[in-house]
């Protein structure tokens, strides 16, 4: 059965956006910003690029809403996983050898 038809997206336009965002990503890691800002910018640009591929190259923009829900579930679960790991990570960082050595150093000074 022939597929449902929709207007053909501007594939080359999406390509140029992907290329520009990739160049910007490379530029950002050498920019004189604080690490946190660099990480936020990189994640923002990566998610934008991933969305462009999913929406236009995978035609998710033209699919039924439920297909979009199927596609978004892994992202939601991944974010949930990261939040579930966060309390445990804080404890590990708190007890890491580096932090404990620093704490012992501060204690010795007193």
């Amino acid at each position: 059965m022939p597929a449902t038809h929709h207007e053909e997206p501007n594939y080359m336009g999406v390509f140029w956006w992907l290329l520009v965002l990739t160049i910007l990503e490379i530029a950002v890691i050498y920019a004189p910003f604080v690490k946190f800002a660099i990480v936020i910018l990189l994640i923002g640009m990566a998610l934008t690029k991933a969305s462009l591929v999913a929406l236009y190259y995978m035609h998710l923009k033209f699919e039924k809403r439920t297909v979009g829900m199927i596609a978004i579930v892994p992202l939601v679960l991944c974010v949930f996983l990261i939040f579930m790991l966060t309390p445990d990570l804080s404890a590990i960082v708190h007890h890491s050898p580096k932090v404990e050595a620093a704490a012992e150093g501060a204690h010795a000074e007193h």
Binding site: M1, P2, A3, T4, E8, Y11, M12, F15, L18, L19, T22, E25, I26, V28, I29, I38, V39, L42, I43, M45, A46, K49, A50, V53, A54, Y57, M58, E63, K64, T66, V67, I70, A71, V73, P74, L75, L77, C78, L81, I82, L85, L89, I92, V93, S96, P97, K98, V99
Partner: protein, 207 residues
């Protein structure tokens, strides 16, 4: 008895048309597979982030890994995504020669990507990177690097084999302006591989 058997048989038949993807059931199957596969990659990247966050001596990836080389690999994979959509658009307009040409270019992009990854791995192994440790800092730096990029590389290899099968069918003239669902399904897989590389490149190489 015969009537009951007939009723049971009728109930067991699936509807001819998928409610979510009227084009084909195969397309819905691929979307479900990709959602499951995305969870595998999501788990890997979340584990990478957790291990890195908890490590005190994680090396700065851009100081150890070749960013220029992998940036070019990213560019290559984006180009192969473009050739893939162009191939799909070609067969949607009935252009079989265009489909064959663009499929071949997509496969070539995948092969060059894999070759460059092999070169990168060889270079890093020569510098002392191993699955069990490395001279640059936390031992899990190289473990997570090889696992994440290796898992993605396996997907690229699988994609190249899959695309080659579709190309063989295209050369036999199987696809036309009214029969291109298989091309759309392989395209979904290949774009997913590209999408995942965008995330791997950012989290493993740049952040």
């Amino acid at each position: 008895m015969t009537q009951a058997a007939t009723v049971d048989h009728t109930l067991g038949v699936e509807p001819a048309e998928s409610p979510l993807t009227p084009e084909s059931w195969g397309k819905l199957g691929m979307w479900l597979f990709l959602a499951g596969d995305a969870m595998s990659f999501g788990g890997l990247l979340a584990a990478y982030g957790a291990i890195r966050y908890a490590s005190g001596d994680w090396p700065q990836p851009s100081h150890v890994l070749g960013i220029q080389l992998t940036a070019f690999m990213t560019f290559l994979l984006i180009c192969s995504s473009v050739t893939m959509v162009k191939g799909l658009a070609a067969i949607q307009h009935g252009d079989q020669a265009g489909l064959r040409r663009f499929l071949a270019l997509t496969i070539l992009g995948g092969i060059i990507f894999l070759s460059m990854q092999a070169y990168e791995w060889t270079h890093l192994i020569e510098r002392g990177m191993r699955l069990s440790g490395n001279p640059f800092g936390a031992s899990l730096f190289s473990t997570t690097f090889f696992c994440a990029t290796g898992f993605h590389g396996c997907h690229v290899f699988g994609g190249v084999v899959y695309l080659t099968c579709v190309l063989v069918q295209a050369m036999r003239g199987r696809y036309s302006a009214t029969n291109w669902n298989s091309v759309e399904i392989v395209a979904l897989y290949w774009h997913f591989v590209d999408l995942v590389w965008i995330l791997v490149f950012t989290f493993v190489y740049l952040v």
